[in-house]
C-alpha cells in the first residue's frame, strides 16, 4: 500500500466538471424569464447538493426550505408560510458552520426579501405575477426589439437586403449597430447553452455590407404635421426617421457642425468609420428630413419651437464633461475626454507626438481616448484607474484592444493631484496606490494602500470619468430635471409641457447606442399618437420557414482585427467583418427560438408596431 497518491482526475470528475460548466453556460443566458420563486427553489436545491451533511441548518434547513418554497409554488402556502421561509433562511445564514450553508442562506434571504411581491402574488393568486416573459431570448434582450431570428434566417437564405429591411423596422442604424452595438442580445442567446452565443452583431454587419441592392422605405401620405427634433444623435435620428416614414415633416436641430451625436463625437472612427456613419445618416435624411446644424437650442428657442411645430423631441444627449475636483486640474494640458473626442469628430485631430499621456477612468470612453491618443502620436499612454482591471466598466475587448495598441493599465491608483511646471503646464499625475477590499454597493471598493504617493510624469492628462447632461438651459425654461437628467413620463412626455417629448442619454443618463435608438423609436410612436395618428411601422418581408436541422456544437466565428502595430498609426477601421463562409456558418448556428420553444406558442415575431 503506497503511503501517498498523486492526484488524478477521474472520469467521474471530468463529467462533473463538464456538468458544472454546462450549469454556468445555462445560467449565463437565462436571466430574463424564470419565476423568482421557482428560481429561488432551484437555487436552494442546487446549494443543498453541496452540503457535506454535518451541520443541522445546512443539512436539514436547505431541504426544508426547498419544500416550503415548493408549497408556495403549488398554491399551498399562506402568508404565515412566507414568514416561516424567511425565518428558516435567516437561521441557515446565521448558524451554518461553513460558507456552503451560510452563503446559501444569505442568497436565499436576498431572494426572499427582494422578490417579496412575487412571493405574495403566488400566495394570493396561486399564480406567478412576474411580468417579464421571454418569447425569443435575443429579441427580449435587445432594447429595440429587433427581429434577430428573422434577419438571421434571411442572411442564411442569401437575402441580405431583406435582412436590412427587417432590421430597419426597429432600428434605422443597422450598420452603426453592426459595428459598435454592445449586443446585449448575445448575452441571452440560447445557443450559449450548446456552446457559445451567436455572433449576432457580426451577422448584422455582414448583412449591411452585402446588400444585393439598396431600397427606399415606403412613406405614408404626408400628414402636414411638423415635428422638431433637438439633437442629431442616435435617439434624434431614430425618432426623425420613424416620424418621417409616418408622413410627418421633421426638422433636426443640431448644435454641432455635423449630425451623429456621440456616434461621431464619442466613438472614434477606427471603430465607426465616418463614411459608414455618413452614409447611414444620409439614408435617413433622404426621407425628406431637414437638418439644421450649428443650431443651438436653449430655453427661449424651445418655447419658439413649441409655437412653430406640432411637437418637439428633445434628445440632446450627454455631452458635458465631469471634473475630477483635484488640485491642479486647471493646468494647461489637462482636458476632458468629451472635448478631445469632439475635436477629433470634427476632424481637428490633435498632435501628441512624443508626449506622455495619462488617461483617468476605466470605462469605454477612457479606452477610446487612450487608443486615440496612441493614434495622435503619444509616446506613452497610461490608463490610470483606482480599482482593478476586472472592475472596469469598459468592455473586455476594448480593454484588450487598448493593451494591444500599447496602452498601459495602471490599476489600483487613485489620482490625488495634478502637478504643473512653472509655465502652468502639466508635468505629472500624483496617485495614491490602493488596495482592494471590502464590498460597498455590491462591488469591492478600494482604499489607500499603506505605501506613499507616487508621481507619474506626463505631458497631458485626459479625464474620462463620465459625461454630464447639459440640461441647465431647459431646466431654467421649466423642464423638470433630476440631477441633470430630464424627467419624463414613461411614454416620454415632458410633464407640464404639452407636445414636448424627450429621450436618449439626456433622459436616461449616458447609455448605449441601441438604447438611444429605442428611445427614438418609442418617442416616434407616441408622438404619432399625440398628433392624432396611429401609423404602423412594419415590413412585408416573408421570413423563410424554419427547417429542422442539425444544431450540434459548432464554434462561434469571431471577427478579426488588423494587426495592432499597423492599426495604431491611423484612424481607419480596425475590425474585419466575417467572410461569407463564416457568416453563413454563423447564421446556421441559430437555434431559431422564434419557432422552437416558447416562440412557437406566444408568437416569435412582432410584424409591426
Amino acid at each position: 500500500m503506497a503511503r501517498m497518491h498523486v492526484m488524478e482526475r477521474s472520469e467521474e470528475q471530468a463529467i462533473m466538471d463538464e456538468l458544472h460548466a454546462a450549469v454556468g453556460r445555462r445560467l449565463a443566458v437565462s436571466s430574463l424569464a424564470p419565476c423568482p420563486v421557482e428560481f429561488t427553489m432551484a437555487f436552494v436545491d442546487m446549494c443543498s447538493t453541496q452540503s457535506c451533511g454535518k451541520c443541522t441548518p445546512c443539512r436539514v434547513g436547505l431541504n426544508t426550505l426547498r419544500h416550503r418554497l415548493s408549497d408556495v409554488l403549488r398554491g399551498r402556502a399562506t402568508m404565515a408560510t412566507l414568514d416561516g421561509i424567511e425565518r428558516l433562511a435567516r437561521t441557515i445564514y446565521l448558524s451554518s458552520d461553513c460558507a456552503i450553508g451560510y452563503e446559501a442562506g444569505a442568497m436565499a434571504l436576498t431572494a426572499i426579501q427582494g422578490f417579496r411581491d412575487d412571493f405574495v402574488h403566488h400566495v394570493t393568486y396561486h399564480a406567478c405575477g412576474f411580468k417579464q416573459s421571454e418569447k425569443v431570448p435575443c429579441v427580449s434582450g435587445c432594447p429595440a426589439g429587433v427581429d434577430i431570428p428573422g434577419y438571421i434566417s434571411l442572411v442564411r437564405a442569401g437575402r441580405n437586403t431583406d435582412a436590412v429591411r427587417l432590421i430597419r423596422k426597429d432600428n434605422p442604424l443597422p450598420m452603426v449597430c453592426g459595428l459598435v452595438c454592445e449586443h446585449p442580445c448575445e448575452m441571452h442567446c440560447r445557443r450559449g447553452m450548446v456552446d457559445d452565443p451567436m455572433n449576432i452583431r457580426a451577422i448584422k454587419r455582414f448583412a449591411c455590407e452585402n446588400m444585393e441592392s439598396d431600397y427606399r422605405p415606403v412613406m405614408a401620405e404626408p400628414t402636414g404635421r411638423r415635428v422638431a427634433v433637438v439633437g442629431g444623435g442616435p435617439a434624434g435620428l431614430s425618432c426623425a426617421y420613424y416620424l418621417a416614414v409616418m408622413g410627418h415633416k421633421v426638422t433636426i436641430l443640431e448644435a454641432r457642425r455635423q449630425l451623429g451625436g456621440m456616434l461621431r463625437y464619442g466613438i472614434p472612427s477606427y471603430r465607426l468609420p465616418r463614411e459608414e456613419l455618413d452614409g447611414e445618416i444620409q439614408w435617413i435624411l433622404d426621407c425628406g428630413i431637414e437638418a439644421r446644424t450649428q443650431t443651438e437650442v436653449g430655453g427661449d428657442e424651445l418655447q419658439a419651437l413649441r409655437r412653430d411645430y406640432d411637437a418637439v423631441y428633445l434628445a440632446i444627449g450627454a455631452h458635458g464633461d465631469r471634473k475630477l475636483g483635484l488640485p491642479g486640474e486647471d493646468s494647461e494640458g489637462v482636458e476632458s475626454a468629451v472635448a478631445m473626442l469632439r475635436a477629433i469628430g470634427d476632424g481637428d485631430t490633435p498632435d501628441f507626438t512624443g508626449q506622455r499621456v495619462c488617461v483617468i477612468g476605466g470605462g469605454n470612453v477612457a479606452m477610446d481616448v487612450a487608443r486615440s491618443s496612441v493614434r495622435c502620436g503619444a509616446s506613452k499612454v497610461n490608463i490610470v484607474y483606482r480599482r482593478r482591471v476586472q472592475d472596469m466598466t469598459a468592455q473586455d475587448e476594448e480593454i484588450a484592444g487598448a493593451g494591444e495598441e500599447g496602452c498601459e493599465l495602471l490599476e489600483l491608483n487613485a489620482p490625488v493631484r495634478i502637478e504643473a511646471d512653472e509655465a502652468g503646464h502639466v508635468c505629472g499625475l500624483v496617485v495614491q496606490p490602493q488596495i482592494i477590499g471590502s464590498f460597498k454597493g455590491g462591488r469591492p471598493s478600494p482604499r489607500p494602500a499603506d505605501t506613499g504617493e507616487r508621481t507619474i510624469p506626463c505631458d497631458r492628462v485626459i479625464v474620462a470619468i463620465g459625461q454630464a447632461i447639459q440640461s441647465k438651459p431647459f431646466e431654467e425654461a421649466g423642464v423638470g430635471c433630476n440631477r441633470g437628467r430630464i424627467v419624463t413620463d414613461t411614454d416620454g412626455r415632458v410633464p407640464g409641457m404639452d407636445g414636448v417629448f424627450c429621450g436618449g442619454d439626456c433622459q436616461s443618463g449616458p447609455a448605449t447606442v441601441i438604447r438611444a435608438i429605442n428611445a427614438g423609436k418609442v418617442a416616434a410612436g407616441n408622438i404619432d399618437n399625440y398628433l392624432g395618428y396611429d401609423h404602423k411601422v412594419g415590413v412585408p418581408v416573408d421570413i423563410p420557414p424554419v427547417e429542422f436541422r442539425d444544431v450540434g456544437p459548432c464554434g462561434r466565428s469571431e471577427t478579426k482585427f488588423r494587426e495592432a502595430n499597423e492599426r495604431r498609426h491611423d484612424f481607419c477601421q480596425i475590425e474585419h467583418g466575417l467572410s461569407r463562409e463564416e457568416a453563413l456558418q454563423e447564421a446556421s448556428r441559430c437555434l431559431c427560438c422564434d419557432h422552437f420553444g416558447f416562440g412557437a406558442f406566444r408568437g416569435g415575431r412582432e410584424l409591426q408596431w
Binding site: P34, E38, T124, A127, P217, M219, K536, D550, A600, F601
Partner: protein
C-alpha cells in the same frame, strides 16, 4: 403600414405555392406541396401519427411531443406537427426511438392527469384516452401528481386542472378566435398551469361563455356545468309541468353520438326521444326565432334613420356570448344593441304568460327548459332581468346538446328505433327563417326577409338575401330596401366581431344592421354542441339548416301561423306595450365583471 420598402418579389411566393417536395414515410414515397408539415406528409402516406395538442392553424406549437417522428440523419426526434417536410427526408413514424419517446411522454402526461375516466364527461370522446389506449398503456411507472382543484361550482363553465394536459388550445382559441384572453399560463416551468389569466377568479373576468375552449379541449379539463339533475328533479315533481324548447341548430348535431346522419337526426326524432322521459310539452325555439325577427325587424326600421344619418348600426342581440362581449369591450355600442331578447328568453316569457294562459296553467308551476348549442345561455337565463312573465325566471334551466345526449344515454334510449313526432302546438311551428338562426348570417337573412315585407308589403323573392351566407368571419352586403340602401354586415367568431366593432367605432366602416354570433359559423359551431376533436363542423351543420329552410312550408317569419295567432290573440303588434314588456330587455340591466369593477372604482369611497 409604412417603413417597409417595396413589395416582395412575386416569384418567390409563386415558388412556394406550386412546388412539391418528395420524401419517404416508413419507406413509402409521398409527394406533398412545399410548406406541408411532416404530419401532413405522414397522413398523405396513410401513416397515422397520433397528436394531442395540435390543431391546424390554431395551435401548431409542438408542446405534447406525442407526434414526434424520427428523421434519418438526425439524432433527436422531430415534432411532425410543426416542422416542414423537406425534399428527400426519410421519416420513420414507429422506430424504436419514437416508440420509447412517444410512450414515455404519454406516461408523463398521464402522471399529471386525473385518470378517473369512468366519471369523466369526455370518456369515450377523449384524445388522451384514445392515444393511451392505442399505445396500450395499461401500466405506467410514474406517481400521479395533480395540481390543486379550485373552481366555483356555480359557474356555467367548469375547469378541472387535474385533467388539463397543458396543450394550450384553450388559450389559443380564446386569444386568437375569440379575442377574449380569459386563459393564460399562470405559473412557469415545472409548475406551469393553464388557468384564468393572472390567477383571477373566473367571476371577475369577462368570460363570454362562448364555450369554444370546451369544444377545443382534447380532454375533460373543460366542460359545461352539468344541470341534468335539476331537470330530473323537475321531472320527478308531480306538481310541475315541464315545457322544453329545442333550438334550431340542435337538430344538426344531437344524434352525433349514435352516428346518426343528417337526415336521420331529425328534430322529429329528438321530440320522440324526449317525450318518454316525461316532458309535458315539447316546443320549437324556431317559433321564438320568428318572434325575434318580428320584433327585431321592426326595431331595425325604427333604428334605420339613425344609422343612415351616420350613427352606429343596430346590432343583433340573440347571441348571449356576443352580448357579454360587447358589454365588456365596447360599452359605447351597447345602446345600439337590439333590445329584443334572444329566442330562448322570448320563448321563456311567452311560455309563462301566453302559453300558460292558453293551457290554463299556473306559471309558477311551470318548469321551462331549453336545449341549446350554447354555454352562454346558461348564464343568460339567470340574469335578474329575465323574469318578465310572472316574476319567476322565464327560463328555469338550460341544457347543452351534450347534456341532452347524456340524458338519452342514461335512459338507454334506442334513438335509431324511434319514429318522428311533431312538436306540441301552438308553439311548434317555425319557419325556414327561424331555422337558419342557427347559422352565421341566418339572423340577418331572416330579418331582411321580414323587413322587406314590412317595408314593401310584398313577399321577398326566394333567397334574395343569400349574399350574407357562408363561413367568412366578416361579411358585408348592401341591399336595396324600397329605395333605401341597406348596408349590412355579419360577423362570427369574436375576434372578427372585435375587428368589426373597432372599425365601426373608428368610423372606418358604416352599416345599418350588424349580426354577430360569438361562435365561428354561428350556433351550429356552438360551444354547447357535441365535440369532434380536430374537426370544425359549423360549415356542414350550417348547410343542413339552409337545406331545411329551402324545403320549409313557410320561409318567412311573418308567415308563421303561430306567430300571426300569437300577435292576434296576445301581443297585438310588434313593439306593442306588451311585446316591449315581455320580449325586450334592458341590456344595461345587469353587469359584466368589467362593468361592475369600473362602477365600483368610480363610486365614491364610503
Amino acid at each position: 403600414m409604412v417603413g417597409n420598402g417595396e413589395g416582395l418579389k412575386a416569384a418567390d411566393q409563386r415558388a412556394v405555392s406550386t412546388a412539391q417536395v418528395t420524401l419517404t414515410v416508413d419507406g413509402r414515397e409521398v409527394s406533398v406541396p412545399a410548406g406541408s408539415t411532416i404530419l401532413d406528409a405522414c397522413r398523405e402516406a396513410d401513416a397515422d401519427v397520433p397528436t394531442l395538442c395540435y390543431l391546424r392553424e390554431l395551435n401548431e406549437i409542438g408542446s405534447c411531443r406525442v407526434c414526434v417522428v424520427e428523421v434519418k440523419g438526425f439524432d433527436r426526434l422531430v415534432a411532425s406537427c410543426n416542422n416542414l417536410a423537406v425534399d428527400g427526408m426519410e421519416v420513420l413514424t414507429n422506430s424504436p426511438k419514437v416508440r420509447m419517446a412517444r410512450r414515455t411522454n404519454m406516461e408523463l402526461l398521464l402522471s399529471q392527469h386525473d385518470v378517473a375516466c369512468t366519471t369523466c364527461v369526455r370518456s369515450g370522446n377523449c384524445s388522451l384516452q384514445e392515444v393511451a389506449n392505442d399505445l396500450g398503456i395499461v401500466d405506467f411507472e410514474y406517481d400521479t401528481d395533480l395540481p390543486p382543484k379550485r373552481w366555483p361550482r356555480d359557474f356555467p363553465l367548469i375547469r378541472n386542472n387535474q385533467k388539463c394536459i397543458k396543450c394550450m388550445r384553450c388559450v389559443q382559441v380564446c386569444d386568437k378566435v375569440q379575442a377574449s384572453h380569459v386563459w393564460d399560463i399562470t405559473n412557469r416551468a415545472t409548475h406551469t398551469l393553464v388557468d384564468v389569466a393572472g390567477g383571477r377568479d373566473i367571476h371577475d373576468v369577462d368570460c363570454t361563455l362562448c364555450g369554444q375552449c370546451i369544444t377545443h379541449c382534447p380532454v375533460g379539463a373543460l366542460r359545461e356545468r352539468d344541470d341534468v339533475m335539476t331537470v330530473y328533479d323537475a321531472l320527478a315533481d308531480p306538481d310541475v309541468t315541464t315545457i322544453v324548447q329545442i333550438a334550431p341548430s340542435v337538430r344538426t348535431a344531437w344524434g352525433d353520438h349514435w352516428g346518426l346522419k343528417g337526415d336521420e337526426a331529425t328534430v322529429g326524432r329528438l321530440v320522440a326521444a324526449l317525450r318518454p322521459m316525461g316532458f309535458d310539452y315539447i316546443v320549437n325555439t324556431d317559433f321564438s326565432a320568428d318572434l325575434t325577427i318580428m320584433e327585431e325587424g321592426s326595431e331595425l326600421l325604427r333604428h334605420l334613420p339613425k344609422s343612415q344619418a351616420g350613427g352606429y348600426p343596430m346590432f343583433t342581440s340573440c347571441c348571449p356570448g356576443w352580448v357579454r362581449f360587447v358589454k365588456s369591450h365596447y360599452p359605447e355600442l351597447v345602446d345600439d344593441v337590439s333590445t329584443s331578447k334572444s329566442p330562448q328568453q322570448m320563448f321563456g316569457a311567452i311560455v309563462k304568460s301566453y302559453y300558460a294562459e292558453y293551457l290554463g296553467l299556473d306559471p309558477h308551476k311551470i318548469f321551462s327548459l331549453s336545449i341549446m348549442p350554447c354555454v352562454a345561455k346558461k348564464a343568460e337565463y339567470a340574469y335578474p332581468t329575465m323574469r318578465d312573465a310572472c316574476g319567476d325566471p322565464d327560463v328555469d334551466c338550460v341544457l347543452t346538446v351534450r347534456e341532452v345526449e347524456r340524458m338519452l344515454r342514461a335512459d338507454h334510449v334506442d334513438v335509431r328505433a324511434l319514429g318522428e313526432e311533431p312538436f306540441d302546438e301552438p308553439l311548434g311551428i317555425g319557419t325556414g327563417a327561424g331555422v337558419i338562426f342557427g347559422a352565421t348570417g341566418g339572423v340577418m337573412e331572416a330579418a331582411l326577409r321580414t323587413a322587406h315585407y314590412l317595408v314593401t308589403g310584398k313577399a321577398p323573392a326566394a333567397d334574395m338575401f343569400s349574399d350574407v351566407r357562408g363561413l367568412r368571419g366578416w361579411k358585408e352586403a348592401t341591399f336595396d330596401l324600397a329605395g333605401t340602401k341597406l348596408r349590412v354586415a355579419v360577423a362570427s367568431g369574436l375576434a372578427n366581431a372585435d375587428a368589426l366593432c373597432k372599425a365601426v367605432v373608428a368610423g372606418e366602416v358604416s352599416y345599418d344592421f350588424v349580426e354577430v354570433m360569438a361562435c365561428p359559423g354561428g350556433c351550429v359551431g356552438g360551444g354547447g354542441q357535441p365535440i369532434h376533436d380536430g374537426e370544425e363542423l359549423a360549415g356542414a351543420r350550417g348547410k343542413a339548416l339552409y337545406g331545411l329552410d329551402r324545403v320549409s312550408k313557410y320561409r318567412n317569419s311573418y308567415e308563421n301561423p303561430d306567430i300571426v295567432r300569437c300577435y292576434q290573440e296576445y301581443l297585438g303588434e310588434p313593439l306593442s306595450e306588451r311585446a316591449e314588456e315581455l320580449l325586450h330587455t334592458d341590456q344595461h340591466g345587469w353587469l359584466m365583471p368589467s362593468e361592475w369593477i369600473a362602477a365600483a372604482e368610480a363610486a365614491p369611497q364610503a
